[in-house]
Amino acid sequence: MSDSDNPAILEVDNLARHFPVRGFLNRQVGSLRALDNVSFAVEPGEILGIVGESGCGKSTLGKTLMGIHEPSEGEVRMLGERIASPGQKRAARIRARLQYVYQDPGASLDPRWTLRRSLHEPLIIHTDWPKEKREEKVREIVKAVGLPVEHLDLYPHEISGGQQRRVGLARILVLGPELVIFDEPTSGLDVSVQATVLRLFRDLKSEFDLTYLFISHDLAVVQSICDRVIVMYLGRIVEIGRTAEVFAAPRHPYTQALLSAAPVIGGPRVTENFSLQGEPPDPSNVPSGCRFRTRCQYATSECADIDPELDDEDGHGVACLRWRELSV
């Protein structure tokens, strides 16, 4: 799967996460398969995007990698060391090297604390640094994310949404992570603010040698910032490859439909011939075989029987039984 000689920073093997579905008297009556059979590797220094419709398991994947959810099956390795598997206690040592940025950074800031206190807090928890050393680090990072140092005395409600995101980022960066998982980092931002935030992500990445997992359902943002992209559907990876390649020549019928739904300024109106109908099925009752078959215009009877594996060609993987014949 790898397209370079660098060892992977993160390896994900057959990862699954199921949530119990409970009925009367709290008895488990079923299982919601939020994530199934997910495997991929993250190269050091890349920005790997994760896209897909709401509920397809993007956040569950991010949180399972982070150890917020325990895997139901499979394992996650960081620089060769196993950091998550069923029943495994989390290695605290590795924790600070992998960070998760929640969608709403305002919510992760305590409204009663000044920004200074919010930024010292992670260092108090994770290091035994004296106050002066912490303050020095906090100031360095605050400058790096483009906030005036005077803002350290403000409270969250006194700064704008874009600035809150910067503080949220600063909170993560003070810990010196290697891999940062962003969950919908630009949703709800105006394009004018989004543009500055995206540039900041790029600048910080090179300044601090970071690797990003970038969860988003904004295809234009993913296309502009990610080196590679994973497309998910109903808990599965259906396609993975270099962003430019996947956007230019999507192989999976679902990726094709997803990309054709996004408006292209200057292009034809997509609403006039958009074909994908309805919404994804309930993940507590997934279709047999290929999970996309209930909405796929190319589905055959075989698709109901065989669950397609990722078929990799030139670092571009696709999970569809018919992609080769459909691409000619």
Binding site: D190, Q194, A195, S224, I265
Partner: protein, 334 residues
């Protein structure tokens, strides 16, 4: 064609503890029958306030109308008369951004639709007596069908939380359609939805305009969505009209500095988006003159002193700026 909606020089503010928030400052907008007009601008620039002014849902006792008028189908919507009240919910209806907040969580969808019909929907056939439940249900189902909801009968029996976001938004549009309005105001109707669902909903709104002649005023901060369905686009900045242009001209030949900078902020592969430094000013202390002047690279003294008038060219392209970008040469394309 004459305008269905005609707003001219509308200024209004809200009384707050810290003074008057001057939220709309001489806004001009018009919508023709069957036309889809997009109202775009950054968060806080007054899009929802304008929608609420038309719908008559601004906070009473807190709002000050300073100038201008809103006319819908010739009726003065600001006078507070009976005629205006009659139009609201019948001739003009509303699709909100967050459909969940607009449903009563305790009642089934069917019950809520029936209540709405009792008050607002015209009856087929004569006589106000003997309005039958059956007929109501049939027209509700027809409407859910029209917005392409599968199994409409089953949907009527569900509670709001049992529907997905896309399904709720479709029910909202169906409810907005029931009174057979001539105009729908849709306030960011797809912001919370996936692109796949957005494409379905935008397609639906467009078909309504093309096939039934319904006008749509569509507020959004998503320029892609505006490209997708609008005939004409109005850019608002901090409560002022900045530019009005037909869709192709808006994207291909923007003249207002703010419009240009908005378009340059869009992410696109292989180019660093530029962004706009600073933020939308608070309506409590909006700058004098052109409100964009603190963020505008083209600003000069006159921009701080006088408010540029909205000037319409022969091509129907209107811009309010002392130093607009000049029109592109003939033959330029999007």
């Amino acid at each position: 064609m004459s305008n269905l909606l005609d707003i001219q020089a509308l200024s209004l503010g809200f009384r707050t503890e810290k003074g008057i928030a001057k939220v709309l400052d001489r806004i001009d907008i018009s919508v023709k029958p069957g036309e889809i007009v997009g109202l775009v601008g950054e968060s806080g620039c007054g899009k929802s306030t304008l929608a609420r002014a038309i719908l008559g849902t601004l906070p009473e006792g807190q709002t000050e109308i300073n100038s201008g008028h809103i006319r819908l189908d010739g009726v003065d919507m600001l006078s507070g008369g009976k005629a205006a009240e009659h139009l609201r919910g019948r001739v003009v209806t509303f699709v909100p951004q967050d459909p969940f907040a607009s449903f009563n969580p305790l009642f089934r969808i069917g019950t809520q639709i029936q209540d709405l019909m009792r008050f607002k929907a015209p009856r087929d056939g004569a006589g106000s007596f003997g309005r039958s439940r059956k007929a109501d249900e049939a027209s509700a189902i027809a409407m859910l069908d029209a917005v392409q909801l599968p199994q409409p009968k089953a949907i009527l029996a569900k509670y709001p939380h049992q529907l997905s976001g896309g399904q709720r938004q479709r029910v909202m549009i169906a409810m907005a359609l029931l009174p057979q309005p001539r105009m729908i105001i849709a306030d960011e109707p797809t912001t919370a939805l996936d692109v796949t669902v957005q494409a379905q909903i935008l397609g639906l709104l467009r078909r309504l305009a093309v096939e039934r002649g319904v006008s749509v005023l569509f507020t959004t901060h998503d320029l892609g969505a505006a490209w997708e369905i609008c005939d004409r686009i109005v850019v608002m900045y901090a409560g002022q009209t900045a530019e009005i242009a037909p869709r192709e001209q808006f994207f291909g030949d923007p003249r207002h500095p703010y419009t240009r900078m908005l378009l340059d902020s869009l992410p696109s592969p292989g180019r660093d988006p530029v962004g706009i430094p600073g933020g939308v000013p608070s309506p409590l202390k909006a700058p004098d003159g052109c409100r964009f002047n603190p963020r505008c690279p083209r600003a000069t003294d006159i921009c701080h002193e006088s408010r540029p008038a909205l000037t319409t060219g022969s091509d129907g392209h209107a811009v309010a700026c002392h130093h607009p970008w000049l029109a592109k040469a003939e033959g330029a394309h999007v």
